[in-house]
């Protein structure tokens, strides 16, 4: 069992900057912390074996470990210290509700309720049915339950409340079905409407809790923090509060779309208020009647299609009035919000690199990774390794392998799990989801955060089919750089996104990691500027620059991804959901926004191949004397890279191809291509126009891995290996092999001041 785990507040820090470590242990007690620089993590006995250096640092020491609680589930919290929403003098509410899994236990849609002593009021779904309850705080609860069960993925206009004059509770639900707003259209003979009234012998109490949309307060702890339970799954649109429950006629007008039909509300949370050209990248939820604003917790999906979405406009910034919904999930998380356990101010003399804080307690151990970058605005070497931290966040705690029925066919392996993967699968709720996973209700997970223990981001983690993936493969590049004696800095995707080209400019050569898949527009801009300005790049990965990715403006540690209409995807954005709420931009593949990776790095995604890898075969351009320097020490008549720690080849896992039609620079040289892929390797969906037989690695010529070289303006150049397993072939035969030689030849030349001459 895993009993100890932690995370840092952000992926990278420079000398002088402070980083905090947040640790939770199942058994409270002392924990030891020691800092290590990590060089190789992979435990594969066929490779070089793990390598690390113990670092003497002020963070080393003994700390008090506690068990830290994690709030999961997305909701909106509305502080109400003055009890304005308490409803003791009467309360009416109206909102549109779109439940996705109404049968899944108790779910609170909107509440001002303290569950410890059943005080306040709450609109919940119980046994698939809407219920409005009031509690007087002494244990007495009155409730009214709708006489019809809710249909999933269907909008309801819901009116409810407490009427002290009549001493009654009301719940009124009416389906609001259009051709486009839900799963059922007008042809379905739905008879889901009901209006139910019961006596209420008392008024709701006014507990000292916030109002909550999509949950209810389970308890308020000693520190005044409200913990929320009964999290709701589904959408809510336009919640309004009145002094009395809407009468039958008013409820009918509201359901018909006349939103003034019940008079003026005293509170109205307009989820679309604040949508601007750049989306709605804020946690603030505006209350437009009385100013009782709320805050999103755990980043529910804002700017979701509303009750009135007509399918004509799918860019929500153009039709905010149809995107007034928030989609909530009971398993979302954007920040574990644990108390800090330890902190490190990065010492001035700590070299840039990959680090872990190793925390131990008895036989429990966790290696908490982070990256030290050089002092801001400077370089300490001519070479930078650009660590793809956004890929790490996107894949954080991914559950695909044990959860997706198709996973073993995708991986062409059985599911393989070690202790950490088992922990994720069995006790995964507080660990959250990756952008590959599905929420409880089946919607794709659109957000992923750094601020939680990322169990698959550990130097010795073995990925879902007993391979290295991302970080562990990237450490093979680190091991190679060290072994070959190159001076290098480490920078990360966070520097690239936040600093732009300034992060790359101090370097002559920048090396990618093995899988730089998740890119923002600013990151692509930075690469283009760098390469056009004479910079040199080495793309030592596969499936790069693939998905449009954005960082939350208020929470830079949180990424948003919308799987578009095509691509190698674990889920697909539903109609009207393709645009990022945090930035307003179109999600999906960069290729579909005229920024195919071929235009920058020369190659772009063509296939995943997780069963076996293959070598490259050098083509005519490799024999061009102008690139002799690349192949010094390599026999160009032999396959290149028919070895390696993953699948026994340098071309594997996820691979990219040269394609002029997608924007590979017209003067690029195609040095080589892989051959020998299998029937299990398929062409990516975006290249399958008419799907047809033979779209596999044996029969289809587009399934290959291309080795590409081209020069850029001002003496710059780009070399693309285009494969995730290039990195895991570097250590073969004690780093003495063709892949290693080619990489070193290119890097040595790229790190040289002398401009690269135009090759066309």
């Amino acid at each position: 069992m895993i009993g100890l785990r932690g995370y840092t507040d952000r992926p990278s820090a420079a000398p002088g900057e402070r980083l905090t470590f947040h640790v939770s242990c199942d058994e409270p007690g002392d924990i030891e912390a020691r800092l290590f620089r990590v060089i190789v993590g992979d435990v594969n006995p066929a490779g070089p074996g793990p390598r690390e250096e113990a670092i003497d640092a002020p963070v080393n020491g003994t700390y008090r470990g506690i068990s830290q609680r994690t709030q999961i589930g997305g909701y909106v919290e509305v502080p109400d210290p003055d009890g304005r929403l308490a409803g003791g003098d009467g309360l009416g509410l109206h909102l549109f509700v779109y439940p996705t899994i109404p049968a899944a236990g108790r779910q609170a849609v909107i509440s001002r309720w303290d569950d410890r002593d059943a005080a306040g009021w709450a609109l919940t779904i119980e046994d698939g049915t809407l219920t409005f309850a009031v509690g007087d705080g002494s244990g007495a609860v009155a409730r009214v339950t709708a006489s019809k069960r809710l249909f999933p993925h269907t909008w309801y206009s819901v009116a409810a409340g407490y009427d002290p004059d009549r001493g009654t509770l009301t719940i009124d639900q009416r389906t609001v079905v259009s051709s486009t707003n839900g799963l059922a259209g007008p042809v379905v003979p739905l008879a889901g409407d009901s209006r139910d009234v019961t006596p209420a012998p008392f008024a709701p109490a006014a507990p000292a809790v916030p109002a909550v949309i999509a949950g209810l307060v389970e308890e308020v702890d000693g520190g005044g923090r409200a913990w929320v339970a009964a999290n709701y799954n589904g959408k809510v649109d336009s919640p309004r509060l009145y002094r009395r429950p809407p009468a039958d006629g008013a409820a009918a007008r509201l359901a018909a779309g006349d939103l003034d039909g019940a008079g003026r509300p005293f509170a109205h949370w307009d989820f679309a208020a604040g949508i601007g050209r750049d989306g709605i990248g804020t946690d603030t939820v505006r209350e437009v009647a009385g100013g009782l604003h709320g805050r999103c917790v755990n980043t529910p999906a804002r700017a979701s299609t509303g009750w009135n979405w007509d399918g004509e406009e799918d860019r929500f910034v153009h039709a905010p009035e149809q995107y007034g919904a928030i989609w909530f999930h009971d398993d979302s998380i954007d920040d574990s919000r644990w108390e800090p356990t330890a902190e490190l101010t990065v010492p001035d003399d700590l070299r840039s690199g990959c680090y872990v804080l190793r925390v131990t307690q008895g036989d429990q151990r966790d290696d908490i990774p982070f990256f030290v970058v050089p002092p801001r605005g400077t370089a300490t070497a001519p070479i930078a390794l650009l660590v793809p931290t956004w890929s790490y966040i996107a894949y954080a705690n991914v559950r695909t392998s044990p959860e997706a029925d198709a996973a073993q066919v995708v991986f062409a392996h059985p599911t393989v799990m070690g202790p950490r993967a088992l922990e994720l699968q069995q006790r995964g709720a507080p660990y959250g989801l990756s952008v590959y996973d599905l929420h409880s209700d089946g919607q794709g997970s659109q957000y992923s955060t750094w601020r939680r223990p990322i169990l698959n981001l550990r130097p010795n983690y073995r990925y879902v089919y007993d391979a290295t993936w991302n970080f562990q493969s990237d450490l093979h590049i680190v091991g190679w750089l060290e072994r070959m004696g190159f001076d290098y800095d480490v920078i990360t995707d966070d520097e690239l996104h936040h600093e732009g080209v300034a992060a790359l400019k101090p370097y002559r050569a920048v090396i990618t990691g093995s899988h730089p898949e998740y890119y923002s527009g600013r990151m692509i801009d930075a690469w283009e500027e760098f390469l056009a300005g004479g910079g040199r790049g080495m793309y030592l990965g596969g499936n790069g620059m693939y998905w449009v990715t954005s960082a939350h403006p208020e929470k830079p540690y949180l990424l948003e991804v919308r799987r578009g209409e095509s691509g190698d995807q674990g889920w697909r954005a539903r109609p009207g959901e393709l645009f990022h709420h945090t930035t307003g931009e179109r999600g999906g593949l960069w290729r579909h926004r005229a920024r195919a990776p071929q235009k920058v790095w020369g190659t772009g995604m063509t296939s995943h191949m997780l069963d076996t890898s293959a070598p490259y075969h050098l083509l005519a351009d490799a024999h061009d004397p102008r690139v002799d320097w690349i192949f010094e020490g390599v026999d160009r008549g032999e396959p290149l890279g028919d070895y390696g720690l993953i699948g026994d080849g340098a071309a594997g896992q996820e691979v990219d191809r040269y394609d002029l039609a997608l924007g590979t620079p017209p003067h690029a040289l195609l040095l080589g291509s892989s051959y020998g892929h299998t029937y299990y390797d398929m062409l990516v969906p975006e290249d399958q126009f008419f799907p047809h037989a033979g779209m596999n690695g044996v029969e289809h010529p587009l399934i290959r891995t291309d080795l590409v070289y081209f020069t850029t303006p001002n003496g710059g150049a780009m070399f693309a290996a285009s494969s995730m397993t290039w990195s895991t072939s570097l250590p073969h035969d004690d780093y003495d092999n063709g892949v290693s030689r080619v990489t070193a030849n290119v890097l040595r030349r790229f790190a040289d001041e002398e401009p690269l001459p135009l090759v066309s």
Binding site: A191, P402, T415, M417, Q425, D611
Partner: protein, 146 residues
Amino acid sequence: MTELSPVPGGVAPGLTDPTRLRDRAEDHRAFWLARREAELRELVTPELIEEHRLDPVGERAHHSAELQQVLNYVRSRPMRGKAFVYTERAFESYRIGVLAGRNEPVRFDDDRRFASQSDAAHAIFLMRLADLGVDVDSLTGGEERL
């Protein structure tokens, strides 16, 4: 209690309760599985089992068309109740577990230990063939214990 949407005279009432409806695709699944599994059982021979034992992932040669079909099927079965390889110690000791759902405990009913991931993968393959209704013992001469 008042009920809205009164049923017009003489017309059957509309849908009032989703729990009374079911997914008829389940009927097709049962229909399809029966036929497909019968076809796949015919493909399983001692040679196919041996082909998998020697090279469960297809690293040495392309899998035969028959083995591909059988693997594509067993690999794509629903995850709940599906066997997986558990790495007790990487490159040293593997065993077989059975998956449940998210946030639910997995089961370890099988106490065998395997020295390699491939050996465990082959043991799982044999279990899956048995689930498919193949008499593995008779095909392997009883040499492979399920």
